[in-house]
């Protein structure tokens, strides 16, 4: 083989310099975590850049006491170009956070935040013919709730300590750069003490084993089901190790992970990133971080569960659910009659929706509801075939639509409703409404 010419050598050096600059940009700006311990929240992250820098970014910070925001994203492409667009996007989010927080005097809603960030960032992506997928997750401790917006990212795994089940939670928005603007959908879902939420990049889910098979979401969920009771740090480190073993130590893409376990004693002293290459930790420079204030006491909670038998041609399950939810809302004493009627209707429609589209021949459904911190949540767990929840038509009475009012009622009554899948044919329909 001939020795490289001077021209080739200069090109090699230039490419190496670009990769190095991209890596430094990623480490210095794209991965930013305020790692101060927070009582009741145990969180950890890992950020391992690939050799060529692939545009992953991560931001974890608290915009107010009792909440934690996690933003994870992936810019298409590699190298300096991807890293630069990642900086553009992260800057757009930070500016949007500041602008909207000033306007409202409080952390902005996630859908509005994403719209504001997209307004300033999308032109850059369109001009560069690039896109970025991202997921924005907010933990709201007081309400025992998480909110998220998902723009084509890998989804969020929710490990449920109570039944050691996992759900892959996904939104339905498009990646940044597909259009100049879009209407983002913010989803809400309850969590319980001991639950874990995991954000991950496709560097993990798509890393390939020796046979070329991707690691996949199911392996991630299986790992969490087996070890979801461990600390966030142990979960993150374990997944990095298992993924690395699977890929024979060769991740071809950036690997970014963040895990939050809620309602647990803080283990965040243990929050150092998974490796020295993972970049600096924001909030640690200068003096030692101030201890977080004690959290406000958790608000009163009303909750209940019902195991429902869905039989074709019977309205008994719907009647039981309506009756139980109405009783819970009445007992709260602060929910007005019209709001209660809307919520009861939406719960009934959700159950009928499952009966009509998934459990046509009957089956079982576990209904769990909760009213806490002025947020009502309903989860309907069942086993059944896939159906496209979003494709169910939505009716308009003004156009004399004959059917499809179930979706319209749910959309009107609830702030959020989505269907997510677990292992095999496990499904959960999750709905939530913030009350005045």
């Amino acid at each position: 083989m001939n020795a490289p010419s001077g021209c080739e050598e200069r090109l090699r050096l230039a490419l190496a310099a670009e990769a190095d600059a991209g890596a430094r940009l990623q480490a210095a700006v794209l991965i930013g975590v305020d790692a101060r311990p927070r009582p009741g929240l145990d969180f950890a992250f890992a950020a391992l850049p690939s050799s060529s820098v692939a545009g992953d970014f991560l931001d974890i910070q608290s915009l107010r006491e009792g909440s934690l925001d996690l933003l994870i994203g992936d810019v298409m492409g590699k190298g300096m170009e991807a890293a630069t667009l990642g900086v553009v996007l992260k800057h757009a989010f930070l500016r949007a956070q500041a602008r909207l927080a000033l306007r409202y005097g409080a952390p902005p809603r996630l859908d509005e935040l994403c719209a504001e960030a997209e307004a300033s960032a999308s032109a850059h992506f369109i001009a560069r013919r690039s896109i970025a997928t991202l997921a924005y997750l907010r933990i709201c401790e007081r309400e025992g709730l998480y909110e998220f917006v998902d723009c084509g990212h890998t989804g969020i795994v929710h490990y449920r300590a109570a039944d050691r089940g996992c759900r892959l939670v996904k939104g339905a928005d498009m990646p940044f750069g597909f259009a100049e603007s879009q209407a983002f959908r913010r989803y809400l879902a309850p969590y319980r003490p001991g639950d874990a939420l995991l954000l991950f990049s496709d560097g993990l889910s798509e890393c390939e084993g020796s046979g070329g098979e991707p690691f996949g979401e199911e392996r991630i969920m299986r790992y969490l089901r087996a070890r979801g009771g461990q600390s966030a740090r142990a979960i993150v480190d374990g997944l990095v190790r298992v993924g690395s073993d699977y890929a024979s130590g060769a991740f071809k893409d950036d690997l970014t992970l963040a895990c939050v376990r809620a309602g647990m004693p803080s283990a965040s002293d243990d929050n150092a990133p998974a490796s020295a290459e993972a970049g600096p930790v924001e909030g640690e420079a200068g003096s030692a971080p101030a201890p977080a204030p004690a959290p406000a006491p958790a608000p009163a909670e009303r909750s209940g569960r019902l195991r429902l038998v869905l039989e074709p041609g019977s309205g008994r399950a719907g009647e039981r659910l309506r009756s139980a939810v109405a009783a819970a809302l009445r007992a709260d004493g602060q929910v007005d009659g019209e709001t209660a009627a809307e919520i009861v209707l939406a719960c009934h429609e959700a159950l009928e929706n499952i009966q009509r589209y998934a459990l046509v021949d009957g089956g079982h459904c576990l209904a769990s509801w909760r009213l806490r911190g002025r947020v009502f949540c309903l989860e309907l767990d069942y086993r059944g075939p896939d159906y496209d929840w979003l494709s169910v038509p939505e009716a308009d009475a003004s156009n004399f639509s004959p059917r499809g009012y179930g979706r319209a009622i749910i959309d009107k009554a609830m702030d959020s409703a989505f269907l997510c899948a677990g292992f095999g044919d496990e499904k959960t329909l999750v709905m939530a409404r913030r009350l005045a």
Partner: protein, 120 residues
């Protein structure tokens, strides 16, 4: 099989009162069946929902179809005395855009100009 109901004529308008307490997927297709078959007559109809405690989306669809069929035949439907839960449903889908909602049968008959001796 249709659900139990009461049907009267008062001053040129029909008053239909379903007696079912609940309309859900099991009976949504049948609770207005006696009227759906006659909608082409284009009559004025006061739909008395004072007995109905719960109406689901499929039942709502049946009401919407009856409103449409009556309008097409030159008739009119007014909804009377819906219970709070049913009224909340109508409000959510803005049913008032296609059918008037009255507090009582008497109000509906007055609006029709069809008050009979026993109106109310």
């Amino acid at each position: 099989m249709s659900e139990p109901y009461e049907l009267n004529e008062r001053g040129g308008a029909l008053v239909f009162k379903p007696l079912a307490k609940t309309v859900d997927q099991t009976n949504a297709d049948s609770f207005l069946a006696p009227l759906a078959a006659r909608a082409a007559e284009g009559f004025k109809l006061a739909l008395d929902l004072s007995e109905l405690r719960f109406l689901n989306s499929a039942g709502l669809g049946a009401v919407v179809m009856l409103v449409r069929d009556l309008k097409q035949a030159g008739g009119e439907l007014r909804i009377c005395a819906p219970t709070p839960t049913v009224r909340a449903l109508f409000k959510m889908v803005r049913l008032e855009n296609i059918a008037a909602i009255d507090d009582s049968v008497a109000d509906a008959l007055r609006a029709f100009g069809a008050e009979g001796p026993e109106g109310g």
